[in-house]
């Protein structure tokens, strides 16, 4: 098991604030994907590095990210 990020891509506005505050720098805009709002949504590029600190989720204005820690 690993920590889990659930990203509600349809709500994401591609602002990049989550990626900016992520201490592990594992969040990136997914340039190969466009959501219904017309934004490139965020994706995690290396889940094994995620510490479930939830910095991304706390910063996100649109409550896109749910963070679960493996216990």
């Amino acid at each position: 098991m690993a920590n889990l990020l659930t990203i509600e891509t349809k709500r994401c506005k591609g602002c990049g604030l989550c990626a900016y505050v992520c201490p592990k720098k594992i969040l990136e805009l997914d340039m190969s994907n466009v959501n219904d709002k017309g934004y490139n949504p965020i994706k995690c590029i290396d889940m094994s590095e995620c510490t479930a600190c939830a910095m991304c989720a706390r910063m996100c204005p649109d409550s896109v990210i749910k963070v679960e820690r493996d216990v």
């Binding site: 889990l4 506005k13 604030l17 600190c53 204005p61 679960e68 820690r69």
Partner: protein, 250 residues
């Protein structure tokens, strides 16, 4: 099974926010919603939305709400709190709303010591109407109505609202916080919770000023806007408690 570290607050509805990408109105909404849930008052909370980008905040907070005329939210909140004293009533106002057209209402709500909570979002500009100069716009800051930068000679220096309201004898608690980093969000939430706790305990007028962004009006990316808060706004608008338990903090 994973332990949930963070998820969307029950204090918010599922409606997608109408704010621009990266606008900290959304992040500040979360702090307010989480505070109401944690204090177990969401079911008796009443939002008084103002005029500005947050005019439709009533669609986002998962509680009762009224939308007031521009600047009049503290007067509407006064009426609601007085006829329904068990309600937890808060206004959510921008700096155009609170510090320009609504200055008389905020001053006199504080003057009367109304037992309400005011969330004052200072992004130094009128966001909704296309980025015009606000009383809080910084000197040299370019806006659509100060295209060469705000000049002190013709428009004075930016209003320091928390400092000013703290001087009103009946104001109980005034603090300025910021929403531009995660550690600042932790402090901002503590202040917002305290402002609601004061109301729950009947202490009187509490206002939390939150430094925020408007990347659209500022012509910056959302990430650049965060640095603008740190480097340009915070030196002029120092964070901290300006009044606590009715005593001015200097």
């Amino acid at each position: 099974m994973g332990k949930v570290v963070y998820e969307k607050s029950k204090g918010l509805t599922d409606n997608p926010l109408s704010y621009c990408p990266g606008c900290l109105h959304g992040t500040i909404h979360k702090l307010v919603a989480e505070s109401l849930v944690e204090l177990e008052v969401l079911d008796r909370a009443v939002t008084v939305a103002s005029v500005g980008c947050s005019v439709v905040a009533y669609q986002f907070f998962n509680c009762d709400a009224v939308q007031a005329a521009h600047g009049r939210a503290p007067a509407v909140a006064t009426g609601i709190k007085r006829v329904s004293p068990d309600s937890i009533v808060f206004t959510y106002q921008g700096d155009g709303d609170l510090a320009a057209i609504g200055m008389a209402e905020i001053v006199h709500a504080a003057h009367r010591g109304e037992n309400i909570t005011v969330i004052f979002v200072n992004n130094g500009i009128y966001g909704m109407t296309g980025g015009q100069m606000a009383p809080t716009t910084l000197i040299t800051q370019k806006t659509s109505t100060s295209p060469f930068g705000r000049k002190e000679a013709t428009t004075g220096k930016p209003l320091k609202v928390s400092e000013m309201i703290a001087q009103i004898p009946s104001a109980y608690y005034i603090e300025r916080v910021s929403a531009h980093t995660v550690p600042h969000l932790v402090k901002a939430k503590k202040a917002i919770k305290k402002a609601f706790e004061n109301q729950i305990h009947g202490k009187g007028f509490s206002m939390v000023e939150v430094l925020s962004t408007c990347s659209i009006g500022w012509h910056m990316t959302p990430v650049e806007s965060l640095s603008h808060v740190e480097n340009s706004m915070m030196p002029y608008f120092p964070l901290g408690v300006y009044k606590d338990e009715g005593e001015v903090i200097s």
